[in-house]
């Protein structure tokens, strides 16, 4: 038995606690965190980090290979591919955050409603989910982009219209289990309104698995966004976006491989980083207290 007086340890700052918690995660999660962290940092501070403007033409430096002056080389109008990639990543990540996290709460809420009420409400919502998921994702998004018109707006409308259904299906199946839990039965016994039961008590519990699934969705959506832009249906030139940079480099694939290869590698690194984090989290190895 120790007789020393118990003094509470000094609480580390919020940032310090976050860092320590991250450091207790498995190695792949840490590696993934570093990769994603670097790319997010580069994207946020693109205007400060980029050595050139995204559309600065330089006809004395066309199709130059990677060098100290141009780390990712230049394209056929002498634009710096590195700077364009930074700006492209910036817009890509912003749009991807929007098209991933706007449909998520909508889907979770719809799934929660379907699962909570069951019966006819469930039937209607489930059929809408089935039909939305039956379309090949990209085909339905392209069809919506065709109506709204090509561009980022079209994608930011089109993807959420389709993507909520995946979260709704996930949340609905969890809600079916959740609604039988004692604390949910208690909300009925205590006479809480259904709205309060769903929004305050069920939805917070349903968010966790949707948030974990959303890490996969982030990568899928990033590839989708770049793919649509590559097809000319997303970001419109001349502004930089990873898909359009790659598309513009296609004409010079053999004599200027860097224009298509290097921005694509940035996409791969981001995807691998998020994949490592997601794998670690879904393995149930999230250490350091409740999430």
């Amino acid at each position: 038995m120790s007789t020393a007086t118990l003094t509470p340890p000094a609480r580390p700052s919020a940032a310090g606690r976050l860092l320590r918690r991250v450091w207790r995660q498995p190695l792949p999660v840490r590696i993934g965190g570093v990769l994603v962290g670097i790319l997010v940092f580069a994207a946020v501070f693109a205007p400060l980090l980029a050595p050139y403007g995204q559309n600065d033409l330089d006809f004395n430096a066309q199709l130059q290979g990677p060098s100290l002056a141009h780390p990712m080389g230049t394209d056929d109008t002498g634009r710096d591919v590195f700077s364009r990639t930074l700006y492209g990543l910036r817009i890509d990540l912003a749009v991807v955050l929007f098209i991933t996290y706007v449909p998520l709460p909508i889907g979770v809420l719809m799934g929660a409603i379907a699962g909570y009420f069951g019966g006819k409400v469930d039937l209607v919502i489930s059929r809408i989910i089935d039909i939305t998921i039956a379309f090949p994702f990209i085909v339905l998004v392209i069809a919506i982009v065709a109506i709204v018109g090509p561009g980022l707006t079209g994608i930011m409308i089109g993807v959420p219209i389709v993507a909520w259904a995946l979260y709704a299906r996930l949340a609905r199946s969890e809600m079916l289990v959740l609604r039988e839990q004692p604390f949910m039965l208690a909300t009925t016994a205590l006479g809480y309104t259904r709205r309060r039961a769903i929004l305050r008590h069920a939805v917070p519990n349903l968010m966790r698995s949707s948030l974990i699934y959303s890490t996969v969705d982030l990568v899928v959506n990033l590839l989708l966004l770049a793919g649509l832009s590559y097809l000319g249906l997303g970001m419109q030139p001349p502004n930089a976006e990873l898909g359009t940079i790659i598309a513009e480099g296609q004409a010079n694939l053999l004599n200027a491989w860097w224009i298509t290869t290097l921005p694509g590698l940035v996409l791969v690194v981001f995807g691998v980083g998020v994949g490592l984090i997601g794998d670690g989290l879904s393995d149930g190895e999230l250490r350091g207290g409740g999430a």
């Binding site: 939305t132 089109g158 990568v219 053999l254 694509g264 996409l267 995807g271």
Partner: protein, 313 residues
């Protein structure tokens, strides 16, 4: 079995009807006006009204829907204004390359995915398993269009083994022109095959009947190949049926990279040409293909495994 087939069939018909409803009403519910887009956004009210009349968009909504539905049932999906030809005819000419690409891609995914999954499952968490996991993590993160371009750069432009664009029919032509696209499409699907087949193999390998087979002195090849794989393959079929949509969607991008005249590249061309009738029809056909193919895989599973048809009764 008959009951299961009928129930499953009824569900598919319901979803097919839903697909028709969505493709039809999308144009009315989503903000934006394809007629204005078709006129380049500068259409005078008179011009817009005229095009609307041509397309029959000025009639009551339910009349339009009735006509549309009647057309769908009889295989008449309207007229492409841009190409001045029946939509079904235009799409019909472009279906073959897409269908062959999908089958070829699936083949590539299985040829790459199944052996890797078996190797990974035999020594879980070994060096090879971790290596395979690393490779699949990378493959998952690769955009299909970028992977296609890289393959075109290496095997097309540098090594000159394959052409980098175009399509030829016939066995030789298909092997020449569709191999790189099929590998592009198949690699991303192989990732899914490896992951699901590996984990379901791991599960099966821990069951008692596998222990029994081993204790009878059967060789490892026979235990895995004949006994374990059969049970593990069901999970993979399920995943593949879910990923049919992914395969069909993938053709859109891959066909555009390799300039294959299929239905996928037609979709992109139609959006650029603002040919909304064609876009609508392709979306509907793609959706219907997914529904019918997943119906087919469900029935296949019910035939292979009696537990499926009995559980869902």
């Amino acid at each position: 079995m008959t009951l299961y087939v009928l129930r499953r069939l009824a569900l598919s018909v319901g979803v097919l009807f839903g697909l028709a409803v969505v493709t039809f009403f999308m144009i009315h519910l989503v903000p934006g006006d394809p007629v204005q887009l078709a006129l380049g956004g500068r259409g005078t009210p008179e011009a817009v009204a005229e095009v609307r009349g041509q397309l029959g968009l000025d009639r009551p909504l339910l009349t339009q829907f009735g006509d549309f539905l009647g057309g769908v049932v009889t295989g008449d999906l309207g007229l492409s204004v841009a190409q001045n030809a029946p939509v079904t005819e235009i799409i019909g000419q472009r279906l073959a390359p897409s269908a062959i690409l999908i089958v070829y891609g699936l083949f590539v995914a299985l040829v790459i995915g199944v052996p890797l999954a078996i190797i990974a499952a035999l020594r879980p968490n070994g060096v090879v398993d971790n290596g395979i996991r690393l490779v699949t993590t990378f493959a998952f993160a690769m955009p299909a269009f970028w992977l296609g371009l890289m393959l075109a750069l290496i095997f097309g432009l540098s090594l000159k083994w394959f052409p980098v664009s175009g399509y030829e029919s016939g066995i030789g032509g298909i092997l020449r022109t569709l191999t790189l696209p099929a590998v592009t499409l198949g690699l991303s699907l192989a990732v899914v095959v490896v992951r699901t087949l590996r984990s379901s193999l791991l599960e099966v390998l821990q069951t008692e009947y596998i222990d029994a087979a081993r204790s009878r002195g059967l060789g490892e090849w026979r235990v895995v190949g004949r006994h374990a794989l059969r049970n593990a393959v069901m999970a993979t079929i399920t995943v593949l049926s879910v990923d049919i949509g992914f395969l069909i969607g993938g053709t859109v991008v891959v066909e555009s990279v390799f300039q294959i005249p299929g239905a996928g590249s037609l979709l992109v061309e139609s959006v650029r040409a603002r040919d909304y009738e064609l876009v609508q029809a392709i979306a509907l056909i793609a959706g219907a293909a997914v529904v019918l193919l997943s119906l087919a895989t469900d029935l296949l599973q019910a035939t292979i495994d009696p537990r499926v048809r009995l559980a869902k009764r």
